[in-house]
Symmetry: C2
């Protein structure tokens, strides 16, 4: 049974995020004609009807014949399916704004484009502009567990309450909230989600088989918003679910098992997107146990999905997580390139290799993964982390738009395609949303979710402009002071976070396990391959070709040479690529040790300033929202001071170099 | 209904520990006369009957009139109760060995004395020797939770499987295993246990009231072995259980509530021992919330217990666990003395202040707590930790007898009473036993439990002689090679552990949370008050009066002066009392840094040697026992190497001083 074609009703107390009713006023006070059919067109109908009911406009459906001057807005959809159907063209002349979409999904994106334009959508005249997503797959991966994991909880690395989909082993069945989530995602351009954690535990494994109906319920709720549903599966499924005695990807019985299982999935979910797999990584099962390659594993699943147009996303996050800290020849950063480049060309067309944007694990600063651009005959998806595992866990305001933008605009060969253009297999992010009333825990973390979606659609966009969109949508009647204030606290918040945490690209220095708060040596003697090698003379990891692990040589030129030498390596990545003395002078003119002190004092001062700015906005922001953010700024400030003091003290105790400005170091 | 007067049957596969049947051969092959009555005398009957049935001896009960030359052994008990009843006198003449006990409990101890003597009990002639415990209360505290705690599990700091008493929120009801445990404890001199964790959570709180029947069942199983049962209670009980709106110890309704609750406890358990309380410590509730003192709190519970002869054990483990690592004026080591000395004389006669033997928390090396000896008008109990939280967690062989012996023989004023003599309120230890087939996880950890019990009876005993007892009892037919081998691997194992872990009394350097394995800075920037202050120049905590926290001044002379100066402070406590340069020369003639390197290499070499010795004993030890220990030596060696390498690397990176012998440091 299809869900009703009406705008989802938010549960009491749940924040409307970037779709508060007021943003629909310009649209809702006009006369709109809609033409086309299909689930997303039904959603467009529902949106326009709801807006008109609120603001006094009129809606006409397509049986009325040609558009007339009586219409302010004409929304018309063709019937193109798939990525092509997402394109729309927008123009305005003779007092009528026209959105012509290639397919039903495109009409939905066109509608939200009109909503974003606000009154500007109905002013003047402009020639046709065509909008199409740069990337066909724009996906959010949910690291949601069905059963509460004893260590990781309901949502692994989740900082926004429980899961929207699952609670205590069961599907929540709250389709209204799921629909509202899908609507928000559509409004920023997301068109796919994975409903469960890539670490697939026992309960979650069964979603593939006897519990597929619960996935189908989610798919049904999201379908009107042009969102396809994907599933994380365990490579060992034929053994743990099917009772087979092997999961060897070349074994005929195993291939048959997957083909049958996949057929049943498509019976339940005809537009199912595909599988996401973390294999032979951090203890998850995979093809290595059978002497097979990652390509063998991925292609076996790709073959099962191919008849239905599905895709397998095979994660490239593969490294030795039982490393010996004493052995400086093993380099976790090298692992993805070492493992996968030799397999270029071996992956099936519907097998996508999903690569984290940096070589390590979503640190506040990493170089771009050298795998991106190095596998021209393989479809790559690039994965970001919207959930703020290492960037403040949604207790710190840290808007990641500029970081993602830098990554997406990076050109692996220095002049050709950007990362955003090379991500032919999709742009994917780990979601930061949960059942929190503000969706994302920290209300300002909504801006990360919004910005990621919009960048996935248009990787070359100016992130600050996207933040401006988010501000206008979220606070539709914001006075300039509020807009300015939000820009002030968010524009530079990523660099602020970088300043008070691990310096110069060295990464980690977090508390083991939960990853919140500082512990400079927390991972220094661990098996995870995340070291800084600080001693009394210097700090950093030598990844040069000449004297280090050789990681710098995994890049194409000009980057390989640029990163090779401390003299040319960008300051912000210096300690990622080089072990240097504390007295090493940066391009900035400061020594490394003084840079550490200065940035840590500055970072805290910037948080103090942001807290003051936020306090000054009290009467301009809805009280509950203001109070939540204000409270979180207290925590952020407390935590930033702890970072500052621990990092500065650690390096002062090691180096013995006093701060030039004699500020307090303990 | 009393439990049957028979020797408990061990469940299949459970190790007999220090009471294997063979140790009863000398007794069981003789003719024994028993006189007296009461539960422990019944247990003596059962032991003798069981031994005779096994080995062909004869038992006669006391209605037969005078002892005759036909008896090899006469066991006779008076009817003294309480501590006096534990005394017994043993002599031999005219071919008859006689044990005359003041009361039934004393007969049990006399019996096990005869068992320990073995054939020597029946040889020659000797004049009467009187044995009485130096300390009236010899207690094991079980940190067992009734409900599984989400972080701490079934047994907090337990390394021997589950609890003997509780599982998953319920009483296990396995009285046969509990009786067997009581029998082992009686055989080493323990006469009291606390059945639940001092951190009293919600479920455990109810043991005091509606679940007291479950405690009574345990008490019934242990009573025949002269063991009284105590209960940890929450100070907030009147609020959380009684629905009162305060737990103010001076509030009449609160006092009435405790009086009523205590009366009902004694209805269920007439020989109930009393309460153990951790109050106003690490988040537990206490009298401070009501502006009352620890004495007010303790005395209120003492008043409730007094009519029945019960005792409250009030833990002195009170300190600021929300310390700021930047503030070097706060010193956790000072806390117990600072808090409690001003209250000397204010505690009721049946209120015992239970003091950890060191000022911190059961580290491998601490000075003796300066509280001991500083409260002459207060009954103190001294608490040790048999469970190896910081001493290898029963994965490392670490026999703690010498450490406890050093503590118990310490004279706080340099010449008068020892710690063992000052512990008028009892000697208490946190148990290391659980439902593991070997009782203690590591089979050799049984020696710790045995040694503690025997030292509690006789604090001045030579610990190595007690270890010898344990070896003889546990391996009754051991050839000399096995006896020697066990001494070789255990005698020095505490010092070996000290060598490869935190150096020179500085303490901690463990992984946060679970406390297993090294993390040099793991607690360095924490709120727990456990710091080492290592920098590039030196390491240690200045606790002198002259320039430090003043802790050294809490001692009486000669210790205050001795600890005050690095020149007189014993090497093994140097970093506990002083911050010194790495080049500081110890009394041993080595520098601090070279001492660190040397001891860490030596410690690992000693573990390697112990592993080899153990391997050589393979055919002399029961195979399952040998295999378990052999496997644990692999883990111990792995862990010891990790300690060695992390500590050495940490201090080499900080100090820059190379090892004189150029051994590998990373």
């Amino acid at each position: 049974m299809p869900l009703p074609a009406r705008v989802p009703v938010l549960p009491e107390g749940v924040d409307p995020a970037w779709l508060p009713p007021a943003v629909f006023r310009p649209l809702g006070s006009r006369r709109t004609l809609i033409r086309g059919s299909g689930p997303p067109v039904d959603a467009v109908h529902a949106e326009v009807a709801d807006a008109c009911a609120r603001f006094g406009g009129q809606m006409t459906s397509d049986d009325a014949g040609a558009a007339t001057p009586a219409h302010d807005l004409v929304l018309e959809a063709g019937d193109a399916k798939g990525p092509e159907g997402e394109e729309f063209t927008c123009s305005r002349r003779d007092g009528t704004t026209t959105v012509t979409a290639a397919g039903p999904a495109g009409l939905l994106y066109g509608l939200f484009h009109v909503v974003r334009l606000g009154e500007d959508a109905f002013r003047g005249a402009w020639p046709p502009e065509t909008h199409r997503p740069a990337v066909g797959l724009r996906m959010l991966d949910h690291w949601d567990n069905v059963a509460v994991h004893p260590v990781m909880g309901q949502v692994e690395r989740g900082y926004a309450g429980g899961s929207l989909f699952w609670a205590d082993g069961r599907a929540r069945g709250e389709s209204e909230r799921v629909r509202a989530y899908g609507r928000l995602l559509a409004a920023c351009g997301i068109n796919a989600i994975t409903v469960n954690n890539v670490n697939v535990h026992e309960t979650e494994a069964r979603l593939l088989t006897d519990r597929i109906g619960e996935v189908a319920d989610i798919a049904r709720a999201l379908r009107p918003y042009g969102i396809r549903t994907h599933l994380s599966v365990t490579f060992a499924a034929p053994v743990v679910l099917g009772g087979e005695d092997t999961a060897d990807p070349l074994d005929p019985a195993v291939r048959r098992w997957w083909a049958d299982a996949t057929r049943r999935v498509y019976q339940a979910i005809p537009d199912f997107g595909g599988f996401v797999v973390k294999a032979d990584s951090e203890g998850q099962p995979g093809p290595f146990a059978y002497g097979r390659s990652h390509a063998d594993g991925a292609n076996m699943l790709a073959a099962a999905l191919a008849p239905y147009g599905g895709t397998v996303h095979w994660r490239a996050f593969v490294y030795d997580h039982r490393q010996d800290w004493r052995d400086r020849t093993t380099d976790r950063a090298r692992a993805a390139h070492d493992h996968f480049v030799p397999l270029d060309g071996e992956f099936a067309p519907n097998a996508v290799l999903q690569v984290k944007h940096g070589p390590m694990d979503f640190q506040v600063r990493e170089p771009v993964s050298p795998l991106i651009g190095a596998m021209p005959r393989t479809r790559l998806a690039v994965e970001a982390q919207v959930t703020q595992e290492y960037t403040g866990q949604q207790r710190h305001a840290c808007w990641l738009g500029p970081m993602w933008s830098e990554v997406l605009r990076f050109r692996p060969d220095g002049r050709g395609a950007t990362v955003g253009e090379l991500a032919r297999g999709g742009l994917v992010a780990v979601s930061n949303a949960g059942d929190d009333p503000f969706w994302t825990g920290h209300p300002l973390a909504q801006a990360n979710l919004y910005t990621f979606g919009r960048l996935a659609w248009q990787p070359g966009a100016d992130p600050r402009a996207l933040l401006g969109e988010w501000i206008r949508l979220t606070h539709p009647d914001a006075p300039q002071r509020l807009t300015d204030g939000l820009h002030t606290v968010l524009d530079g918040s990523w660099r602020t976070y970088e300043k008070y945490t691990a310096p110069l690209g060295v990464g980690f220095m977090v508390q083991p396990g939960h990853h919140y708060g500082p512990s400079v040596d927390g991972y220094e003697y661990s098996p995870w391959g995340t070291y800084h090698f600080a001693d009394r003379d210097g700090v950093g990891v030598d990844r040069s070709r000449a004297t280090g692990t050789g990681y710098a040589g995994q890049y194409a030129e000009p980057w390989a040479d640029l990163y090779e030498s401390p003299g040319t390596c960008p300051d912000e990545l210096l300690l990622f690529f080089h072990h240097v003395p504390y007295g090493h002078v940066l391009h900035s003119g400061r020594t490394v040790i003084q840079h550490i002190y200065d940035t840590h004092f500055e970072g805290v001062e910037e948080v103090e300033a942001a807290r003051e700015v936020w306090a000054s906005l009290a009467h301009l922001v809805e009280p509950a929202r203001h109070a939540r953010v204000a409270e979180l700024y207290e925590e952020q400030l407390h935590s930033a001071r702890e970072w500052r003091d621990q990092i500065n003290t650690y390096f002062f105790r090691k180096s013995g170099v006093p701060d030039e400005r004699s500020r307090p170091i303990h």
